[in-house]
């Protein structure tokens, strides 16, 4: 029946059907910025590493743009009734890039030994795991201590890259010389890395997913200057600009070029959301009314339209729109300076000057800081912008030495994985700029997040998370700005580059270049 249907459609639209056939061969030229420190994804998880190494390593699962799990190294899986046992059946005939066969022992080693030592984000997930065993070469069983709702969302390549046991077992992982020649199971292999210039990946001819990948090679060009990256696309040196490669003010100009396509898809899993950090411990920002005032004072539509060229959506609360259990019924904050002024008055603000340490991530973020300063001065709140570099900013935030700041964080598809960390009390710890830096502490919220994570019953989870969203929107521990949109810009003949919820980071397994 299915074949018949396809034939019928093909008959109706011969041209479209012919175009949909992937083309073998060719090269993709893409920008990476900054240069990754290393491509060993098990040890280093910063954004550029994930983007390049997502072609070299693979996870057990992938996720579509609705965040539903799809097979990758695991071709199928079962979850027991009580939600405590997860059984994964692995793909047959998978080989590491050095020719050694891949087996369940690699998965057990990766999860139980390697990532437990080296991957902070996955380590947090592993805290819920009682045991990881391999009953046979192609099966892996995870037994949990107690039900953990988002467990099936934690197997994407950046969270759990499978690393080769035969290369790493018994070595010092951090100094293993193999880190410079990463061995994965992915569709592409590292061929050459000319530091400061480019990284070249070539097709893995032995790839387990027969017929893939289509491309012969990928060149990742290291171009440190944002204007030069735009020029690189304009003059044809590169064909793909991943989200965030060029300054926002260049996006309209570049996307208007001939033969240029762009999409905001491919960020659903990460759900990047920007906000204003507010120090809940001390000063005016310790007051709830004052924090609400800031939410009403910032003209977020203007921020989106003027600074981000209309990309992204104004956030309604602590969950980005693409995150699971997002509740659209919660009333969003509007831009209302009058109301903000009343709230400031109610908070007993005495004109104290707040220290604002904006995130130093490029021009747009500096402009954002200026807009916020202006918006706050409109309601009578005095702000001093303190400039730092990235390391200095990390330090100030980690030491809680700020009144206001800006940031954006990934939500990793599920509130238990990416959202809870910002608001739960157990995550207040000096020394990191990415945990509960605001110092917000509320036992009700802690309990609700725990309830939402501690079951696989979707309805129960939804109920807990709706409650969380309502309460947080009332308390405003941080000032939510935008669910950010990052356009991936390509020549229109680059096809199927983005097919999953992690976009470019998922590797170029399906991508091809139309002749």
């Amino acid at each position: 029946m299915r074949r018949l249907l396809t034939a019928a459609i093909a008959g109706l639209l011969p041209a479209t059907s012919a175009m949909a056939d992937p083309v073998m061969g060719g090269r993709a030229n893409i920008v990476v910025q900054p240069e990754p420190p290393s491509l060993m994804l098990g040890l280093v998880q910063n954004a550029p590493t994930q983007m390049v190494a997502g072609n070299i390593y693979e996870g057990l699962l992938r996720y579509d743009t609705k965040l539903n799990p799809m097979p990758s190294l695991a071709k199928s899986w079962e979850i027991s009734e009580d939600g405590l046992t997860y059984t994964f059946h692995l793909e047959d005939g998978v080989k590491w890039h050095d020719g050694t066969p891949f087996s369940s022992a690699d998965v057990v080693f990766t999860a139980d030994v390697f990532l437990r030592e080296s991957h902070p984000r996955f380590r947090a997930v592993l805290a819920h795991v009682e045991s990881i065993t391999a009953p046979d070469d192609n099966t892996v069983v995870f037994k949990l201590k107690s039900a953990f709702g988002p467990f099936l969302n934690a197997f994407e390549v950046g969270s759990m890259p499978i690393v080769p046991k035969h290369v790493y077992e018994g070595t010092d992982f951090a100094t293993n010389p193999a880190n410079n020649t990463p061995i994965g199971t992915g569709p592409f292999k590292l061929d050459e890395w000319s530091k400061g210039s480019y990284i070249k990946l070539v097709k893995n001819a032995d790839y387990w997913d027969e017929g893939k990948p289509y491309l012969d090679e990928i060149y990742w060009h290291v171009i440190p200057d944002a204007a030069s990256r735009a020029v690189a696309f304009e003059t044809g040196q590169v064909d793909i600009l991943p989200g965030g490669s060029i300054e926002n003010f260049d996006v309209p100009r570049i996307t208007a070029l001939e033969n240029t396509c762009s999409t905001e898809s491919g960020w659903e899993f990460f759900g990047p959301q920007s906000w204003v950090w507010m120090n809940n411990r001390q000063g005016p920002t310790a007051s709830k009314e004052f924090r609400q005032a800031i939410m009403y004072a910032i003209d977020r539509d203007f921020v989106r339209d003027a600074l981000w060229n209309g990309m992204g959506k104004v956030s309604t609360g602590p969950f980005a729109g693409s995150t699971r259990f997002y509740d659209a019924s919660i009333a969003p904050f509007s831009y209302d300076p009058e109301k903000a002024k009343e709230l400031v008055k109610a908070s007993g603000y005495d004109g104290e000057v707040l220290e604002f340490v904006p995130m130093p991530y490029g021009e747009t973020w500096m402009r954002l800081a200026e807009v916020i300063k202006q918006n706050l001065s409109d309601i009578g709140v005095n702000v001093d912008i303190v400039s730092t570099d990235v390391a200095g900013w990390n330090k100030r935030l980690s030491d809680w030495d700020f009144d206001l700041s800006t940031t954006y964080l990934f939500q990793y598809g599920d509130p238990a994985l990416g959202v809870a960390r910002t608001y739960i009390s157990s995550n207040i710890a000096k020394g990191s700029p990415w945990n509960n830096v605001a110092g917000y502490s509320n036992p009700d919220i802690d309990a609700l997040f725990e309830k939402g994570a501690g079951t696989i019953n979707t309805d129960e989870r939804a109920a807990a998370y709706t409650e969380v969203q309502r309460k947080l929107a009332e308390d405003v521990p941080v000032g939510w700005l935008l669910d950010m949109g990052f356009p991936t810009i390509t020549r229109c003949n680059v096809k199927d580059l983005i097919t999953t919820g992690i976009g470019v980071n998922d590797g170029f397994k399906n991508a091809y270049i139309e002749k």
Binding site: R123, Y198, K200, S228, Q237, V390, A391, N394, K395, A429
Partner: protein
């Protein structure tokens, strides 16, 4: 014999200066807020205490500062510049890897600006007051005042985007697989825009300096004497005026030569040139202490070497000057 003791004396002085630079740099860098562990954790977007602790132990940051300093200085004394955990490579390898690109870029800029600048200066001085003098002086003034990054971007806009004559950035055409002569030509084409933008400022300085210096010398008595003797104006210009006018140029050239290593951060960034300036800048942003110190150390050593060379050249240009 005397010359050997003199050189030995200078070397001892140089070593002391280097040591002082090393210690000072070390202390300055470590007093900047933030450390590589938080930067790496920050880039990963998530962390916990254990992870930061692991990183700090790996980087040796858990040790007291004087222990770290002593270890660093004694390592450098053995010509071991340390290891970059961030880049997973020994610092010396990283630097040697990037140094040729920087030397090629800054060396070309040096030659271009020296030759063009002195020629333009001589030309202007010999036609003082005429339109060609005014033209050269004006152009030099404009180059002198133009910010480097702006000149670079305008160059890219005109010669790469609009005219399509020159590649906008990079060291060579990536993936083209050129070898031998074809590769050299390819690199040369890539070199034009960055070297010219980097050299503009010094071209202007040399030409103005040469012009002024030539005019000053040509008023002196011995030049008048030479003229009175009936020597040809060309010979006077070359032998009497230019040679004596060269001293300040040598001083300046020594300064520029000191910047050959590590002096091209901006140009290398705009043109994605895989050199040492960018390496240094990135290491600064990432608090990659060992790389940063390594680049500083190598640059300082080069400055000292170029200073010595400059002193020797003084002696050649004007034999009355003796290196003390």
């Amino acid at each position: 014999m005397k010359i050997i003791t003199r050189i030995a004396g200078r070397l001892v002085k140089a070593a002391i200066v280097l040591l002082a630079i090393l210690v000072l740099n070390f202390l300055l860098i470590h007093s900047a807020p933030g450390d590589p562990a938080t930067v790496m954790a920050g880039e990963a977007g998530a962390t916990d205490e254990l992870f930061l602790e692991q990183l700090r132990i790996k980087f040796g940051l858990d040790q007291p500062l004087y222990v770290q300093l002593w270890k660093y200085v004694s390592d450098v004394a053995r010509l071991d510049l340390g290891f970059s955990y961030r880049q997973q490579m020994p610092v010396l390898d990283l630097i040697l890897d990037r140094l040729p690109a920087t030397l090629l870029l800054t060396g070309s800029a040096f030659l271009v600006s020296l030759v063009l600048g002195v020629l333009a200066g001589v030309l202007a001085a010999s036609r003082v007051g005429r339109w060609s003098d005014t033209l050269i002086s004006t152009v030099a003034l404009i180059f002198y005042a133009t910010p480097l990054f702006w000149a670079a971007l305008m160059g890219v806009l005109l010669f790469s985007v609009t005219l399509g004559w020159l590649p906008p950035f990079g060291f060579e055409t990536v993936g083209a697989g050129y070898t031998g002569m074809a590769r050299a030509m390819d690199i040369a084409r890539h070199l034009v825009l960055p070297a010219v933008s980097l050299g503009l400022f010094f071209t202007a300085v040399y030409s103005r300096m040469t012009r002024a210096s030539m005019l000053e010398v040509s008023q002196m008595d011995f030049v008048k004497t030479a003229r009175a003797k009936g020597l040809s104006p060309r010979l006077i210009q070359r032998r009497h005026v230019l040679r004596n006018a060269l001293l300040p140029i040598v001083t300046l050239a020594g300064l520029q030569a000191g910047q050959l290593v590590g002096g091209a951060v901006l140009t290398e960034t705009v043109f994605a040139w895989p050199g040492i300036g960018r390496l240094m800048f990135e290491a600064l942003a990432q608090r990659d202490y060992n790389v940063l110190l390594g680049v500083f150390f190598v640059s300082a050593a080069m400055v000292i070497v170029f200073n010595m060379i400059t002193d020797l050249i003084y002696g050649i240009v004007d034999p009355r000057i003796r290196v003390q």
